[in-house]
């Protein structure tokens, strides 16, 4: 029998370790039960869409790094693909293969952080997080070898990549791929059957496929509901139609399914990279001939990719000048966040943190 109590408003965030950045929630509680939450966003708003209008088409690429800073390469790639579509640039085949390899490496790196911090929120305090960071570090090492930096890579260019890969990159990547499946097995062994984790996450924060589609949720959160939707299969960009891979789906759309889907996606990414390495042309240009000050013709273009967090799209409008007339970003994290209120109603405050962590958002992309 519940005791009738006065609703209590609790402020969580913006500076709180489990809000993954500067997210703020105004939660209305009845005892420990969450009645309603009101997300307050905008603490990291930098006006990136407006800043694009004052920069050249190439000059905006470094700023896209700062959107979803966990997976910068995917952001670079989505923007470059939109401008390539607008300007009618054809990317060389070697560059496309390398883009696939890099995008899948980025997916592994992102999911390692997503799952690590999710387990951190569940109370597995920093042990799995640091185990996963160990492997992310290896991917970041490889990205550092390519681009010279470890977080804001700025490696993609309009028409390909900024530079060719160094000679020592491919052997190092092969060594990484040989070891990675064993490490994913290790994570599975560490926590897949852990009773505490199962009790905290199974059946918690359920969202149905219909509701997820109505909220235009994409990525692992949508696939965890059992709805198989992956842009790599649904609208193959780059060369994804040449590779064999499965789209892992969940059963019922709870936090545990989201965790499992991300784990399986890492295995599939390893599979894709292995196939891409086999077919990668050893010689060839990595960058199409694109003028430094690009003037795309008047018009607009939208390109979307399956970024690690879901569908990431860039809508670029050009008025035939050196700067974009307008850039609109379809942010994955913001749209995935829209169903948070539905998910957390009726759960306790401790579950609120777990559910929020399982969505895997990046505040740089939410606030832009």
């Amino acid at each position: 029998m519940a005791i009738k109590t006065e609703p209590f408003v609790l402020n969580i965030g913006p500076v709180h370790p489990s809000t993954h950045g500067v997210f703020r929630m105004r939660a209305t509680l009845d005892g420990e039960v969450v009645l309603d939450i009101e997300p307050v966003i905008g603490y990291l708003h930098r006006g990136i869409e407006k800043l694009a209008e004052q920069r050249t088409f190439t000059g905006f690429i470094p700023l896209t790094d700062r959107l979803d800073y966990i997976s910068s390469m995917s952001n670079n790639m989505a923007y470059c693909m939109a401008v390539e579509k607008l300007a009618g640039v054809k990317v060389p085949e070697r560059a496309q293969y390398l883009r696939v390899i890099i995008a899948e490496m980025q997916r592994i790196a992102n999911h390692l952080i997503a799952n690590g911090s999710f387990l951190n929120d569940c109370g597995a305090y920093f042990t799995p997080f640091l185990y996963m960071f160990r492997e992310r570090e290896k991917v970041v090492d490889l990205f550092e070898m390519l681009s010279g930096q470890r977080l804001t890579y700025n490696f993609m260019r309009i028409g390909g990549l900024s530079q060719d890969i160094p000679d020592e990159f491919l052997p190092a990547l092969r060594r990484f791929l040989d070891k990675m499946p064993a490490f994913i097995d290790e994570y599975d062994r560490l926590l897949k059957e852990n009773e505490v984790l199962l009790a905290r996450t199974r059946g918690v924060g359920i969202i149905t496929a219909e509701k997820a589609l109505n909220c235009s949720i994409s990525g692992p959160v949508l696939r965890s509901t059992g709805y198989s939707w992956d842009l790599r299969k649904a609208d193959p960009y780059l060369l994804y139609d040449r590779f064999n891979f499965d789209v892992p789906v969940g059963m019922q759309g709870d936090c545990y399914d989201r965790f499992r889907v991300r784990m399986e996606e890492m295995r599939q990414s390893v599979r894709i990279i292995e196939q891409a390495l086999k077919d990668l042309p050893l010689k060839g240009a990595v960058r199409a001939d694109v003028p430094q000050r690009l003037h795309p013709p008047k018009g607009e273009a939208y390109a979307h990719i399956e970024s690690p967090k879901g569908e990431l799209g860039f809508h670029v409008v050009s008025d035939n000048s050196i700067a974009p007339y307008r850039v609109h970003i379809r942010p994955t994290s913001l749209l995935n966040l829209t169903a948070l209120r539905e998910m957390v109603r009726g759960w306790k405050v401790a579950d609120l943190i777990v559910i929020f962590g399982s969505i895997d958002i990046c505040l740089g992309e939410v606030d832009r």
């Binding site: 050249t56 190439t58 042990t127 185990y131 090492d141 070898m145 020592e168 062994r189 852990n194």
Partner: protein
């Protein structure tokens, strides 16, 4: 899995991983200020290196800079009929180390630095100009966009190659 869920077997299984890490593996981390790893050959360190000899003052770098951090003043003196670079000034406070200026330079006159501990104690030191931007032993250039320089740099230490298993 669900049959033995109540007995805590999953927790024990997980602990085999942590115990294995404790007993059979070396630590992954290094003690930073004493031990240093080699950075990437293309490292984009936080400084810009400018070559006075090669620079023609075409200002392509200034146009390519997304932040507008580069300022170039070319000969204001019209008497001797020469085109010279008078000032080359970089506001490193605005610089985001994207490397687009190095990429844009048609005369190979710009390099990114390869050092990474470049905090300044005075605000005035953030804006660097002319002689402060030249290459020196304290400011080594990086191989970013200069493959010939990259070949000479020491190979990057990779975590993949680190031996973590105890023999």
């Amino acid at each position: 899995m669900s049959k033995f869920e109540r007995y805590g077997l999953g927790i024990l299984k997980g602990m085999t991983v942590t115990i294995r890490q404790l007993l059979l593996r070396h630590p992954t981390v290094v003690q930073y200020p004493e031990q240093r790893l080699n950075t990437s050959r293309r490292i984009r360190g936080n400084e810009l290196i400018w070559s006075r000899e090669r620079c023609t003052g075409c200002a392509t770098c200034a146009k390519a800079c997304p932040q507008g951090a580069i300022e170039i003043v070319t000969s204001s003196n019209t008497n001797n009929n020469k085109y010279e670079v008078e000032t080359y000034r970089v506001d490193t406070g605005y610089c985001i180390q994207c490397g687009l200026c190095v990429e844009a330079c048609p005369y190979d006159a710009l390099f990114l630095g390869s050092s990474y501990e470049r905090a300044k104690y005075r605000r005035g030191d953030i804006v660097q100009s002319d002689d402060a931007l030249l290459e020196s032993p304290e400011r080594p250039a990086s191989g970013y966009y200069h493959p010939r320089l990259a070949e000479k740099m020491p190979e990057q230490t990779l975590l993949i190659d680190k031996i973590t298993e105890k023999r």
